[in-house]
């Protein structure tokens, strides 16, 4: 009992967020018209969880019979998830109110999804990892299809669910095979047994299944096919959530298993991941060029970014791991920001989402155009914005791991990506037109997006702000 209480104290960010989620659900159920209350409770919960995560960064302790590891790595990702959930909540409110479909469950599901993500990042047992993925995914299936009257939303929710369930099968199969060869699902036991089992066919098969399942969640080629459709059909704030929080969670699990429990440097697993990385970078960037819908464009761009980060995993060294963490933290900021601006311009009936709809945006909304440009420049990886250092670190990691070819593909495809990011900037600044926002964004959302832009610049100039945070708990 005492250890249980101690374990709960150790996992305050997670426990608190769970409690907040449950309270929000009770409030929602206690009567009609409680959506605003649920919103505020959820918002406060994410902030509190963020702060608690931050405070626990420098301690790292296992809890609940070695099921989860709190603090350190989990806390770092906890900050990313809660920040992403926070941003999504803020964007959702104005988005839903505009559509007159504000409902408390929406916010509750966002909080539950964040709980699932935190479980994924803190798991040191495959069972918790699986449960975390499922908690997150189920919430997302519903959130994607939340606008029930919209056909595209239904369609994408169904697709996401079917393919997600399909890959869950592979994930479980992989876990079973690893359990079969190692005799345990605990990361520690797997890590200890890894040198002995790493060449066992069944273990490799299990590991391959995990690669597949994680690649699906991070939307890496060839398991990316769902992403464009789902991103396009989902409510824009949820698209933002999926491209930031979900992606970060999937990478947290990916890194946790493949760099924490396994030691894949120089192995065939690393080669396979490198292949997926290369394919993602090439296909993501090339196809993004031919998109006219911005949500689809950003979906392909998120596939490409998954490729960049996968090169860090494939490198399997300290630089790679730090690089991915830095990349995810900053990518969360810039993508949330970009989708935020998009969601303000977007119209109720899913229009105003193409490049042409941004002609002359800078003349009408100079500040919003500047914000969006910052995010786009950062996504393109142009210094002095944070995106540059993210790419720099993962490519550096690839070069150090003798994967220079991967780094070269990365740099070349980054050049390609500049084309479609700057095409939007060009549209906003150099094309005449009257693009504007229908109604000014809610003050809070506006402040949040502005803060994201400031942070993107700050981390671009001062990257060690994040890198120093990770130094404590990374020790490859």
């Amino acid at each position: 009992m005492e250890t249980l209480v101690a374990d709960i104290w150790r996992s305050t960010p997670l426990v608190l967020l769970t409690l907040v989620g449950l309270i929000a659900l009770l409030v929602e159920g206690s009567g009609k018209g409680r959506a605003a209350a649920v919103y505020w409770i959820s918002l406060v919960g994410t902030i509190a969880s963020f702060v608690l995560s931050f405070l626990s960064l420098n301690t790292e302790e296992a809890a609940f019979n070695d099921m989860i590891l709190q603090g350190g790595y989990a806390a770092f990702f906890g900050m990313i998830f809660t920040a992403s959930a926070f941003g999504t909540l803020i964007l959702s409110r104005s988005y839903l109110r505009r559509l007159h479909t504000e409902r408390g469950e929406f916010y509750v599901l966002i909080v539950f999804a964040a709980i699932g993500m935190m479980l994924m990042a803190s798991a040191i047992d495959l069972i918790i990892l699986f449960l975390g993925i499922e908690v997150m995914s189920i919430c997302l299936y519903v959130l994607v299809g939340f606008l029930r009257t919209k056909l595209t939303a239904n369609e994408s929710a169904l697709k996401y669910f079917l393919l997600g369930a399909f890959t869950t099968g592979f994930l479980l199969y992989g876990i079973a095979l690893i359990y079969g060869t190692v005799g345990s699902t605990s990361f520690r036991a797997i890590s200890a047994a890894f040198p002995a089992v790493s060449n066992q066919p069944l273990f490799l098969l299990g590991a391959a299944m995990l690669v597949i399942a994680f690649s699906f969640k991070v939307a890496a080629v060839p398991f990316h096919m769902w992403a464009p459709d789902v991103y396009e059909g989902a409510p824009t704030p949820i698209t933002a959530f999926m491209s930031t929080g979900t992606k970060a969670a999937a990478f947290a699990a990916f890194v946790g298993v493949f760099l924490g429990a396994f030691q894949i440097a120089g192995s065939k697993l690393s080669e396979v991941i490198a292949l997926a990385a290369a394919a993602s970078m090439i296909i993501g960037n090339v196809v993004a060029i031919s998109q006219s819908n911005l949500k689809r464009m950003l979906a392909y761009s998120s596939i490409a970014h998954a490729g960049y980060m996968l090169s860090g995993i494939s490198a399997a060294n300290r630089e790679g791991e730090t690089g991915i963490l830095f990349y995810l933290a900053t990518y969360t900021l810039m993508n949330l920001g970009a989708f935020g601006v998009l969601s303000w311009v977007e119209q109720k009936d899913d229009t105003k989402l193409t490049f042409d709809d941004y002609a002359g945006f800078s003349a009408q909304q100079p500040f919003l155009a500047a914000l969006l440009s910052i995010f786009l420049f950062s996504l393109a990886g142009i210094p002095p914005f944070a995106g540059f250092f993210g790419k720099y670190y993962v490519f550096l990691a690839a070069v150090k791991a003798d994967l220079t070819w991967l780094a070269i593909i990365g740099v070349l495809t980054s050049v390609v990506s500049v084309y479609y990011y700057l095409r939007l900037v060009m549209m906003m600044y150099f094309q005449p037109g009257g693009a504007t926002v229908e109604e000014p964004p809610a003050q809070m959302a506006f402040i949040a997006v502005t803060c994201a832009a400031i942070l993107v610049v700050l981390f671009g100039i001062y990257p060690s702000l994040i890198v120093d945070l990770t130094k404590e708990f990374l020790n490859i």
């Binding site: 490799l204 597949i212 060839p222």
Partner: protein, 657 residues
């Protein structure tokens, strides 16, 4: 106290952010002016405090590196990895430069409050100026090449922005392509010419990284100190760095941008194109003295280029009629002296001249600004004259500046210039020829500076009284003039040589910085010789002769100048056209480049190859997208099929291959 160094850099940054973000809304000129100059003033105060503390410390404790944060890191810290920090190095050299930049910068900021009064771009001007100071301080305080390069590029950008500040105005291009051009063209010219130099610097930096596997000053110089003198790598490295310096510091062959840079507002000319930015090249060579010491061949080139630039620019200055152009050529010429000092391994003397030059050249430019202001934007000295009656303070301070630059004791310019002349003569790396060129240049300098002074302030009034009513400048402008005049008089006292019973304080102060280089070059401190006195008297005599000549020609026998113009028409024409360097560059580089671009690059490469490649890429992309789209049908079964395909490939790769 040393740990406060970042504050020096951050005050101007704060000023820049404040003015840049709120500028358009600040209707109050006074507030903008106070913020703009106040931030620089605060930096100056901090720098002074650090300097005073440094004075009290023994020499070996005067250096400190203040780490701000790791900028580009590799986390593992192996020797072959690139680790660059944002870190500032406080030492004897950087503090001197910082004091110059912030001190003179502050005065010029204050002056600008008066000069730019009523300009619609008032806040923009101070925003750029603060950004410039920020970049310049990064340049001089950086503890590694990359941060220095950032500052180097930053000042280049500010220079570009400020030259073209009045982007809607036109300016006289002078001899080359006679007529007028937009100030934006001058800005572009400055930027492009500087790019050439920057490219050299960049390549030099690559070479440094390849050779020393680091970009930190301490590491690089420490590793260089154990190398032997000579070696081709060192020669190329230093030559490339020097090309960078010739760009920024307007030396042969890249000096052509500086005269045109005068299209910018006069305080800009004073701050950027006279006192601070253009000396960045000199500072860089001084900072890298140990690298240059390993390549004596480069030092020779530096010395020759410096001396040639000094004399060439001085001769051009003889015939120019635009008050700012004359000062611009004089700046180029004085920078030549500084490089001459560097080339003969008199690094301390070179920095000394940087300092005194900052005082008197800023003074002269600001004085000329006051004149231009009073004459309603008239810059032609042939349409001036007799102004001393109307603007006595400006006249007196301008005269002090002219005497200082002419090298008359005990004004500041004498000590620093004489030090350089003596080293050019006596150093193992100097020669009589270099000395002779330099002395000749000094005489010409005295002549044209007094020509300028006399034509502007003395003699009959040649301007149109109906339109022009000269008046003394406001106090915000004259007070900086007076302070700078004071500095131009006493500024040289920090470097009185032993031969004149001084302590040569500045050189001793800087000694620890240059000691490794000097010991590599086996330069021994020389003792006072009788020759030194002879040369000193000789150079003062030549300067006096120049002044006398100018007074005689332009005050007493004005017909002489016209006579000479006819008699030596050919030389006059060459000088008036600045040795046709612009024309030569135009014919040699610009036009062939344009022709090449038109024919080969545009029609040959661009249309035939690149366009085809771009179009080809587009076609390829479209083709890929077509096929990928056929798979991306929106049918979930199809997606699952692709997914299974991926699994098949992965398993094949893992298990069977």
């Amino acid at each position: 106290m040393f740990s406060l160094a970042p504050a020096i850099v951050f005050f101007p940054l704060l000023g820049f952010l404040f003015l840049g973000l709120l500028g358009p809304r600040l209707k109050n000129e006074r507030l903008v002016g106070i913020v703009g100059s106040g931030t620089v003033g605060l930096s100056f105060l901090v720098a002074t405090a650090i300097f005073i503390e440094m004075l009290g410390l023994p020499p070996e404790q005067r250096k400190e590196i203040i780490q701000l944060f790791a900028w580009i890191g590799t986390f593992t810290g192996t020797s072959a990895s690139m680790n660059v920090s944002v870190a500032y190095q406080i030492d004897q050299l950087s503090i001197v430069m910082t004091l110059i930049v912030t001190g003179v910068g502050f005065l010029i900021h204050v002056y600008s409050i008066g000069y730019m009064h009523g300009d619609p771009g008032f806040w923009r001007f101070f925003t750029y100026l603060n950004l410039f100071i920020f970049a310049m301080l990064n340049l001089v305080l950086a503890d590694n090449f990359l941060l220095m390069f950032l500052g180097w590029e930053g000042v280049g950008l500010c220079s570009y922005l400020l030259i073209g500040f009045w982007y809607d105005r036109k300016f006289e291009t002078g001899g080359y392509a006679p007529g007028t051009a937009y100030t934006g063209d001058a800005a572009k010219k400055a930027f492009i010419v500087n790019r050439i130099g920057d490219f050299g610097f960049l390549l030099g930096m690559f070479l440094i990284y390849v050779q020393f596997e680091s970009l930190n000053f301490d590491t690089v110089f420490g590793r260089a100190a154990v190398l032997n003198v000579g070696g081709e790598v060192m020669m190329w490295m230093t030559l490339l760095l020097f090309i960078g310096a010739t760009g920024k510091s307007a030396q042969i062959p890249l000096f052509v941008w500086l005269p045109d840079a005068m299209a910018g507002p006069t305080p800009v000319s004073a701050l950027i194109h006279a006192a601070t930015m253009v000396t960045a090249g000199v500072y860089m060579v001084a900072r890298c003295s140990i690298l240059f010491a390993l390549a004596p061949a480069t030092l020779q080139i530096v010395a020759v280029i410096g001396a040639l630039t000094a004399i060439m620019a001085a001769t051009i200055g003889l015939v120019q009629n635009d008050i700012k152009k004359v000062l611009a050529y004089s700046t180029i010429s004085q920078l030549g002296y500084m490089f001459l000092a560097m080339g003969v391994a008199a690094f301390g003397a070179g920095i000394f001249h940087v300092m005194t030059h900052a005082f008197f050249k800023a003074l002269l430019f600001l004085g000329s600004g006051a004149v231009i202001h009073a004459m309603h934007e008239e810059q032609d000295i042939q349409k001036m004259g007799g102004l001393k009656k109307y603007m006595p303070t400006t006249y007196k301070t301008f005269l002090i500046g002219a005497i200082a630059i002419a090298g008359i004791p005990p004004f500041a310019g004498f000590f620093s210039k004489d030090e350089i002349l003596w080293k050019a003569f006596s150093s193992e790396y100097g020669s009589v020829l270099l000395w002779a060129l330099a002395v000749l240049g000094a005489g010409i300098t005295a002549f044209y500076m007094f020509r300028l002074t006399i034509l502007t302030f003395e003699g009959e009034e040649r301007f149109d009284h109906r339109h022009v009513h000269p008046h003394e400048a406001p106090q915000s402008m004259t007070i900086p003039l007076i302070i700078l005049a004071g500095l131009s008089i006493v500024g040289g006292f920090v470097g009185i040589p032993e031969s004149l019973l001084g302590g040569n304080a500045l050189e001793h102060w800087l000694e620890p910085i240059f000691a490794p280089a000097l010991s590599k070059l086996r330069v021994v401190p020389h003792h006072v010789e009788i020759t030194e006195y002879v040369l000193m008297v000789l150079s003062v005599g030549i300067a006096l002769a120049g002044i006398y000549g100018a007074r005689r020609v332009y005050l007493r026998r004005q017909e002489l100048s016209a006579l000479w113009q006819q008699k030596y028409a050919r030389i006059y024409k060459i000088l008036w056209n600045k040795y046709y360097v612009d024309e030569a560059y135009d014919a040699l580089f610009v036009r062939p480049a344009v022709r090449l671009s038109n024919s080969l690059l545009w029609k040959g490469l661009d249309v035939a190859v690149i366009d085809r490649m771009v179009n080809g890429t587009a076609t390829a992309v479209a083709w890929c997208a077509f096929w990928i789209r056929r798979v991306q049908t929106g049918v979930a079964q199809m997606y699952a099929t692709v997914l299974v395909g991926g699994i098949v490939v992965i398993l094949f790769w893992l298990m069977i291959k």
